[in-house]
């Protein structure tokens, strides 16, 4: 087991063996979560603060549940409604919280790079729960766990990431993780929703969905992020659905056993056909939610171990 990082800010900073360590531990937490008594003491005595500067239901609930199952004291701060409205800067908010001695800070923010900035100002471990259109590392890890459990491996697979790539932090984190684990990644999007220069990341770029899905093992759909658009990227939702909405016909171009993923929340009839999303033979969307809690438990457990080791070393007067 090797996991060296102080914070979990992005997949970019993780090595393949660290990713594997997280997934291996997460597998154990999946088992724990399926028991009737879902309790561990990995974070006993520790304080976890969830700071969501952007509205979130599922990710915040997932982190909260993960912390509670590990025995931490969990506090949710609805930052969007409070201090920010009063004009406090991000760094002042961070310093204020830091003075309360939390051990784990889970942060989501609408601006790319905001979580990194905050991590520089606090003494605890910081988990990025999504920053702007930059990274969403726990989502990529839970997707990897879902794929590994469905396909038996997380190497040498062809994964098509489809839809609103331009506005998606999920796409970026997944692209990096799947690349690090030596998979073949394809991005499928209308040219207006394809970020510039992505082909240089070592993935294939398609604007025809059927071509992009040809022979894929995994079809990962993205939500059309209307709230992040200042209008005009696509002509209409109906044309988007016609060209880029996943339905049975388009999916037939992928491998017969290809799985369908979606980070949620779904816009049924926009990026995915409702019936397909509910098809238990193809869709692993519900599994993704389950894996989310386990992966977050694994991440926090590993960060807490490093934090304890660091503090122990400091107390013993050892230089680290």
């Amino acid at each position: 087991m090797s996991f060296r990082a102080r914070h979990l800010l992005g997949i970019q900073h993780l090595a393949p063996d660290e990713i594997r360590a997280i997934l291996d531990l997460a597998d154990k937490y999946v088992d724990l979560n399926r028991r009737s008594i879902k309790k561990s003491d990995a974070l006993a005595g520790m304080t976890q603060i969830n700071m969501f500067f952007e509205p979130s239901t599922r990710t915040q609930a997932s982190f909260e549940l993960a912390g509670k199952r590990l025995g931490a004291d969990v506090m949710n701060m609805s930052v969007a409604q409070s201090s920010v409205k009063k004009g406090e800067t991000l760094i002042d908010t961070a310093l204020t919280l830091n003075a309360m001695h939390p051990d784990l800070l889970v942060v989501r923010h609408g601006a790319s790079g905001a979580v990194n900035l905050l991590a520089e100002k606090v003494n605890c471990a910081v988990l990025n729960a999504g920053d702007g259109r930059h990274e969403h590392p726990t989502q990529a890890l839970l997707d990897a766990l879902t794929i590994r459990r469905a396909k038996g491996r997380i190497q040498r697979l062809t994964v098509a990431i489809c839809g609103d790539v331009a506005h998606s932090r999920v796409a970026r984190s997944n692209l990096i993780l799947l690349g690090k684990m030596e998979n073949r990644v394809r991005l499928v999007a209308p040219p207006t929703l394809m970020p510039a220069g992505v082909a240089e990341f070592g993935c294939e770029v398609f604007d025809d969905m059927r071509e992009g899905l040809e022979g894929a093992d995994v079809v990962m759909m993205l939500r059309l992020q209307k709230e992040r658009m200042d209008g005009g990227f696509i002509p209409s939702e109906r044309e988007y659905y016609h060209r880029y909405g996943l339905d049975a016909e388009k999916l037939s171009h992928a491998k017969p056993d290809a799985i369908v993923m979606h980070p949620g929340p779904m816009n049924r009839g926009v990026e995915i056909d409702g019936e397909l999303a509910d098809d238990i033979n193809r869709s692993v969307i519900q599994e993704q939610v389950e894996m989310g809690v386990a992966v977050r438990m694994a991440c926090m457990d590993l960060l807490a171990r490093n934090l304890r080791a660091e503090r122990g070393a400091k107390a013993a007067g050892v230089m680290v």
Binding site: P191, T192, D207, I234
Partner: protein
């Protein structure tokens, strides 16, 4: 039905040649060129040495459907086209409402079936031609739109334009722009200069066109879209166009027949039938643009047919509507260029038939075996005085009223069927 044309002066724009010979039309296509004798049962047409050319493919015709049927209907436009040797109309989307949804496009496509000639449609690039949101380019392409254009409305927001062009590029769609700086050209009725000052009319500097073209070329370079500039009318725009082509951008350009045959002085005593968008230019500009068509730098000549009712032209010059009907006068006006020695007939038909068809991916415009049997038989020398009340268009706003013209259409054939001839129209 097999037609045998004998003793025809055959104009081949692709080969750039003209030669006396015979030609057979069968099953809607050109079946033979140069056959010695008519096949059994064929109808023989003695051309008497007159010209036989591919029918004109007119890129950018305004028809008043939907919304302004009193100005022009598909039926009246079809007759005007047939009488003028235009066998394919590419209709503009600046209708009321604009052709900006697949539903409207399907409606006009259905309505257009009653026309004597082939009609294809272009769609607006943005909803309502308002320059704010792109139309459903994918659905419209599937429904048969050949190109996307906001016509004389310039999309001034380059972010909106950039996204629309990027989206269009992804689908391989052709976008047609109107190169005109919207600020400089605002409120202009004529071209800046001595003549405008003399008349006291608000003018636009020709630089407005260059600025518009430069911007559009920049957007093409950025997005990689296929682009056509509807009208290039000024000498100072030509080097920019030549550079864009030399740089390998997928750019073509057109010009209206009016800007090739008339100049700003024709406005004379505030004659609103000579008001155009962009306005008529100085003689030096006209000459430069004619040379650019002859050299092939400007690819396409169009009629920019714009029917206007009497009320919208019978106004003070500044307030009058712009544009002229031109389907029927297109070929006679083009003969002015031929008789003036500016270009030969194959060069003219390259710009009026072959190039527009090629740009739009249509099989028309060629004098070749297997090409669609869309032909015009005309006498390039026949003289006449134009009387606007004899025109087939519902609107009669032509700048050539009362003028001496040379060159008349004798007969027009679409898909091997004669739709216009000495006996009249096929839909009479």
């Amino acid at each position: 039905m097999t037609l045998y044309f004998e003793n025809a002066r055959i104009i081949d724009p692709e080969a750039g040649t003209e030669s006396i010979g015979n030609l057979i039309l069968n099953a809607g296509v050109i079946a033979a060129i140069g056959a010695a004798s008519p096949p059994k049962g064929a109808q023989v047409i003695d051309c008497g040495g007159k010209c036989l050319a591919p029918g004109i493919v007119d890129l950018g015709v305004k028809i008043g459907e939907p919304g302004e049927r009193h100005r022009e209907s598909f039926r009246s436009a079809g007759r005007a086209a047939a009488a003028g040797g235009v066998t394919t109309i590419i209709a503009r989307p600046d209708t009321a409402p604009a052709i900006d949804t697949p539903e409207v496009l399907e409606f006009v496509t259905r309505r257009a079936a009653q026309s004597l000639v082939r009609i294809h449609h272009m769609a607006a690039l943005t909803k309502g031609r308002q320059g704010r949101e792109m139309v459903e380019i994918g659905f419209m392409l599937d429904a048969g739109a050949l190109a996307f254009t906001d016509c004389d409305h310039v999309v001034s927001d380059t972010k909106v334009l950039g996204r629309a062009l990027t989206y269009a590029r992804g689908l391989g769609a052709l976008v047609i722009g109107h190169p005109q700086d919207p600020g400089l050209s605002r409120g202009a009725a004529v071209t800046n200069g001595k003549f405008a000052s003399l008349l006291g009319l608000p003018g636009v500097h020709p630089m407005a066109e260059r600025l518009g073209l430069d911007r559009d070329i920049g957007m093409v370079e950025m997005t990689g879209v296929r682009y056509h500039s509807d009208q290039i009318t000024c000498a100072r725009s030509l080097p920019a166009l030549a550079r864009a082509k030399a740089n390998g951008l997928d750019v073509t350009a057109g010009v209206s027949i009016h800007h090739l045959t008339l100049n700003e002085l024709d406005v004379g005593d505030y004659r609103s039938f000579f008001k155009f968008t962009p306005p008529l230019r100085a003689e030096e500009d006209r000459v430069a643009v004619v040379e650019a068509v002859a050299s092939g730098l400007i690819d396409i000549i169009c009629s920019m047919h714009s029917p206007q009712d009497e009320e919208s032209k019978r106004l003070p010059f500044e307030e009058a509507a712009a544009g002229a009907v031109a389907l029927e006068t297109f070929l006679p006006a083009a003969m002015r260029l031929y008789h003036a020695g500016a270009m030969d007939l194959p060069t003219l038909f390259r710009a009026m038939a072959l190039n527009p068809a090629k740009r739009l991916g249509l099989p028309q415009g060629r004098m070749a075996l297997g090409a669609p049997a869309d032909l015009v038989l005309f006498d390039p020398d026949a003289p006449f005085m134009l009387d606007r009340w004899t025109l087939q268009s519902k609107s009669k706003n032509t700048p050539f009223d009362g003028q001496r013209m040379e060159g008349r259409v004798i007969a027009t054939f679409v898909a091997g069927i004669q739709v216009f001839g000495p006996e009249g129209f096929a839909d009479a």
